[in-house]
């Protein structure tokens, strides 16, 4: 032994892990990411204000549409909403309020925007959160299977189906499901409600069941349309990894095939999927405007649709800000989590 050891005196411990240095590097990295996110949020605040002022239509006229109103009344409305002020003053007011956490008052509901959002947010989270968990799990599991047995019949069928559903417009699929399963076609009776979140009048456990019953069709629509993306990303990432030498090493060690997959291939392959998961998580809050509208789901998406048609400027701006915030926060979280999962990144 001695001869061998002498010959190979270890290198100066240049590569010995230095914990604290790494910790600092991560903090610096994290601070950079969070700083960038804050700047993005400010940009969203500004963009939101001007963007929606480009929408054609006069909110006051839309709200008073059909009723006889005098010019004086219109002017009064304008004064009430602050629409008579010069643009720059409207902007500074909006910014000042936004920074104190006040997103203004909805024109059509005559209620604080924040209240309206707080009311609809849980409903959206219930719908899209449920769908998110299902489509992410489904996408990863099916994507892993498809890659591991790629180019076999099972992979072709599964990938083909995912691609087809992924390219289907969600509102069309939703309408189709309503026609078949709510209205009923031929011998099939209407099994599920056509829309809304509850039938009303239920209490306790019956209420929970009732909401779940209403959830089925919109969740199916969302899962069907969304799982394909996760499946495809997972599949191609795993296919890339499958040619890697370290998997041959793992097999040569005598690991069972499923252990090679679970312990070695999937953790590496999921790294690109992580970013996608966080982006999807951000979109969860934004709701799904089309699906919520089709199923008359009382969530943020439906609210946004109502607000846009006026246009109810404070509400639209507020929702836009909340949606953007969710995406930015989730992206930042993805950036922060990634180095913890992949030791090669973030130094």
């Amino acid at each position: 032994m001695s001869s061998v050891q002498q010959a190979v005196v270890p290198a100066p411990a240049a590569a010995a892990p230095r914990r604290t240095a790494k910790g600092w590097a991560y903090l610096r990295y994290g601070a950079g990411k969070v700083g960038g996110a804050v700047i993005s949020l400010l940009a969203v605040l500004v963009t939101g204000f001007f963007l929606f002022r480009l929408i054609p239509g006069d909110p006051v006229k839309t709200m008073t549409g059909g009723r006889p109103v005098s010019a004086g009344q219109l002017a009064a409305y304008r004064r009430e909403f602050g629409l008579d002020l010069p643009m720059w003053q409207q902007f500074t007011d909006y910014c000042g309020k936004a920074l104190t956490g006040d997103l203004g008052t909805s024109y059509q509901f005559r209620a604080p925007v924040l209240d309206k959002i707080a009311e609809a947010l849980p409903n959206t989270l219930l719908l899209t959160g449920t769908a998110f968990v299902l489509y992410t799990a489904l996408g990863i599991v099916l994507g892993t299977r498809a890659a591991w047995r790629h180019d076999r019949l099972g992979d072709r069928l599964s990938t083909g189906l995912a691609l087809t559903l992924y390219s289907v417009p969600s509102f069309w699929l939703g309408l189709l499901l309503i026609i078949v399963f709510s209205v009923g076609v031929g011998p099939i009776p209407g099994l599920f409600p056509t829309g809304g979140m509850e039938s009303g009048g239920e209490e306790g456990f019956a209420y929970v069941l009732d909401v779940a019953h209403h959830l089925v069709l919109p969740v199916i629509t969302l899962v069907a349309v969304e799982y394909g993306q996760t499946l495809l990303v997972t599949r191609s990432a795993l296919l890339d990894e499958m040619a890697s030498d370290y998997l041959t090493t793992a097999r040569a060690k005598g690991l069972r095939d499923d252990l090679v997959r679970r312990r070695h291939a999937v953790p590496n392959a999921l790294l690109p999927t992580v970013t996608l998961i966080f982006v999807n998580l951000g979109r969860t809050v934004a709701g799904v405007i089309l699906v919520e509208t089709v199923f008359s789901w009382p969530g943020l998406g439906g609210l946004f649709y109502q607000a846009l048609s006026v246009p109810d400027l404070p509400l639209v701006q507020g929702l836009f800000f909340v949606f953007a915030t969710a995406v930015i926060v989730m992206n930042t979280l993805a950036d922060l989590v990634y180095p913890l999962l992949d030791p090669r990144v973030g130094r």
Binding site: A7, T248, G254, L341
Partner: protein, 698 residues
């Protein structure tokens, strides 16, 4: 009973290509068998077949008896039990063979937990012991693969291979892509462990000299068959098969006048396993093939004591040692036969004017074509770390028609120096002059400059755009420089100069349709098309097979003769310098530590670093001086002589006796001049006039 007995092994991949076509090999316990051959000859397939690691759908026939038990007949559960515990593998390129997201300690512990009844803590302790056994601190168990250097990762692979006390270790190109010094460390480590623990070793490599040094027996594979087998030294020194001869001849033997300015290769490429030639598979490339060779298949037969070879010339060979006729030394059988192989005749010894010219030049030195004076290139440290002085004071001249080899380990700054000479990296201090004028870094001037100085990179697969045809790849330079003449003619001319003939046949090909050697020729043609004065080639043959290597080097030599082209060849390969260079500059940590004519520096090195580099070459005479560790970090260059921490002369006390030890620790040796004269930046060498390397070190 043999430990490993492979009988009539045949492997056919799902696409129908026959990668292994009837291989018989056996290995006693404790024996060391080397398997050599070019890429694509089936040697890695053989390695994977031993543990049934080939992809599903591959047909494997024959028997693989490991300890008397046929691996091919085992149930999968038994195969998994035998893997790693009976035989383990050290793969090539440990970067990809280790899982990037697991700590190396866990990866070493994994097979222990799987095959031995061990607790997690027990396995962890054992992993630490194994790391120490391969010369790494146990604390490295917590490191991730990317935090370790290439050599350290290979050590981790070896530690992992030892984890379950296998009786057989299969090493597949264990040192390919490592520096000479690290390669020597790893080979020494493997050889030591194998002897000490009485392991059997199957080592696979394209490098015959490495195998001859490490193994007892050597088998040479070609087109899925073993074509020659015998005691390793004998096969290397005196091959009985024309293929073995060509392979071993492709290795430069430094100091051998026959290989000076005469790189030898083997024209053509190994056959596609899906379409193996009839008769003897080697006959299309064989310099001594008979008419009957295209019809009669050859099987291994006795070729002397303990030796077998599969060649029609062998029956006679059994009687007299060198019955395989030497290929006629006809230098040029006319310009390339126009085959796919683009067979460039390898020139015989270059005209004597070249050999002597190198020595004669310093006397009546014309002004240098390219010259670096006091060149420094530094990079700011990351996150406020220390500045890395990658090039730290270099003077270097390059004259018209001269080939200079810049030699050093990875991380020594040689690539940074080359990039700086090309104007790709502006120097931090010092200057570069070309044709007597300092380099102008304005973009217009740089464009003109780059027309005259072209770059050839290491990996032709990476440096060619896969979506460009050969024609586009070569014509791109012309288009960038708005060439006014006949583009088609210029491209055709450059391609045929680079040995791709007839050029038109290559115009519409894509890089993936070419062999590695042909791709590198395309890269060279792309450089030649602008009619440069100087080529800067960064490891131009490092990613090529030995047989192809000789071909490409011969091409560089010929271009120098025909076009009076100068070249700066950046390499870690001292043999390359011996093959083609006039002068050599050895670089260590940003500084040139020894320079002079190739004959002087390589035959009588004066700097202990050069001496060590030469001594660890597999074929070198005398005791190897394996330097410990890796080249230190260019952001922490020590005071005094930058080499002193690893210097064997200082460590042995020799420098102390010569009275220079103080200088070594405190005084930086002077920067060497860029001219041609022999110089070494060493306090010790300055005191002693003797230049006998063995005396200096012992």
């Amino acid at each position: 009973m043999s430990l490993l007995d492979v009988r009539n092994l045949e492997v056919t991949y799902a696409d129908g290509s026959a990668a292994v076509r009837g291989v018989d090999v056996s290995l006693e316990a404790g024996g060391k068998l080397g398997i050599a051959g070019e890429s694509g000859c089936g040697k890695s397939t053989l390695a994977l077949a031993l543990l049934r690691l080939l992809p599903a759908g591959t047909r494997v026939g024959g028997e693989i008896l490991l300890d008397g038990e046929d691996v091919l007949a085992m149930k999968w559960g038994r195969v998994r039990a035998v893997r790693w515990a009976g035989a383990s593998i050290v793969f090539q390129g440990a970067m990809h063979s280790l899982n990037a997201v697991h700590r190396v300690g866990d990866q070493i512990a994994e097979p222990i937990l799987l095959h031995r009844k061990a607790t997690a803590a027990g396995a962890r302790t054992r992993a630490g012991e194994l790391l120490e056994q391969v010369g790494l601190p146990a604390a490295h168990a917590r490191a991730y693969p990317h935090e370790l250097s290439g050599g350290q990762r290979q050590r981790v692979m070896i530690a992992m291979a030892l984890a379950c006390d296998p009786r057989l270790i299969i090493a597949d190109e264990p040192t390919t892509a490592l520096d000479v010094m690290i390669q020597a460390q790893i080979l020494r480590l493997i050889a030591g462990l194998v002897t000490e623990q009485d392991l059997a070793l199957v080592m696979i490599s394209h490098d015959l000299s490495v195998l001859a040094d490490t193994c007892d027996r050597l088998a040479v594979m070609y087109a899925g068959r073993i074509v020659e087998e015998g005691p390793a030294r004998q096969v290397f020194d005196d091959s009985r098969h024309p293929y073995g001869k060509a392979l071993s001849g492709a290795f430069p033997r430094i100091g051998d006048p026959a290989s000076r300015f005469a790189p030898r290769g083997l024209p053509g490429d190994p056959p596609d396993p899906a379409a193996v030639p009839t008769g003897c598979a080697f006959h299309p490339r064989c310099p001594v093939a008979l008419e009957s060779c295209s019809v009669d298949d050859q099987r291994l037969r006795e070729a002397g004591a303990g030796r077998r070879a599969a060649c029609v010339h062998v029956p006679e060979a059994a009687a007299s040692p060198s019955a395989v006729p030497e290929p006629e030394a006809s230098p040029h059988p006319g310009p390339g036969a126009g085959t796919d192989g683009a067979g460039i005749p390898v020139p015989g010894p270059a005209p004597s004017s070249d050999a002597t010219g190198a020595l004669g030049k310093p006397a009546s030195a014309p002004p240098p074509l390219l010259s670096a004076e006091g060149l420094h290139v530094s990079f700011p440290g990351r996150h406020g770390g220390d500045t890395a002085r990658a090039v730290d004071g270099v003077d270097l001249d390059l004259r018209a028609g001269e080939i200079v080899a810049l030699v050093g380990e990875s991380g020594c700054g040689k690539t940074t120096l080359a990039r700086s000479l090309l104007g790709l990296l502006p120097p931090t201090a010092g200057r570069v002059t070309f044709d007597g004028r300092p380099l102008d870094y304005s973009s217009g001037a740089l464009r003109t400059y780059r027309k005259r100085v072209q770059l050839v990179l290491q990996d032709p697969s990476g440096s060619l755009n896969p979506r460009h045809t050969v024609y586009d790849a070569v014509a791109e330079g012309l288009r960038i420089h708005r060439y006014g003449g006949d583009e088609r003619a210029a491209v055709a001319e450059a391609l045929s100069r680079a040995g791709l003939r007839p050029a038109e046949r290559f115009f519409q090909r894509y890089p993936h349709e070419l062999s590695g050697g042909q791709r590198q020729r395309v890269v060279i043609a792309g450089a030649l098309v602008l009619e440069p004065k100087l080529l800067v080639a960064d490891e131009p043959v490092a990613s090529l097979d030995a047989s192809v290597r000789g071909e490409i080097l011969a091409l560089l030599l010929r271009l120098r003769d025909e076009l009076d082209l100068s070249a700066l060849v950046v390499t870690h390969d001292l043999g390359l310098a011996w093959n083609i260079a006039d002068r050599v500059a050895v670089m260590y940590l940003g500084r040139i530590v020894e320079t002079g004519s190739v004959e002087q520096v390589l035959s009588a090195p004066r700097h202990p670093y050069t001496q060590a580099l030469l001594s660890v070459l597999p074929d070198a005479p005398g005791e190897p001086v394996v330097l410990a560790g890796e080249p230190p970090d260019p952001s922490r260059i020590s005071a005094g002589c930058r080499f002193h921490a690893r210097c064997p002369v200082l460590a042995s006390g020799e420098a102390e006796r010569a009275g220079v030890a103080d200088a070594c620790l405190t005084r930086d040796p002077e920067i060497l001049g860029g001219g041609g004269e022999e110089q070494a930046a060493c306090h010790y060498a300055a005191t002693s006039s003797t230049s006998n390397p063995s005396e200096l070190i012992r």
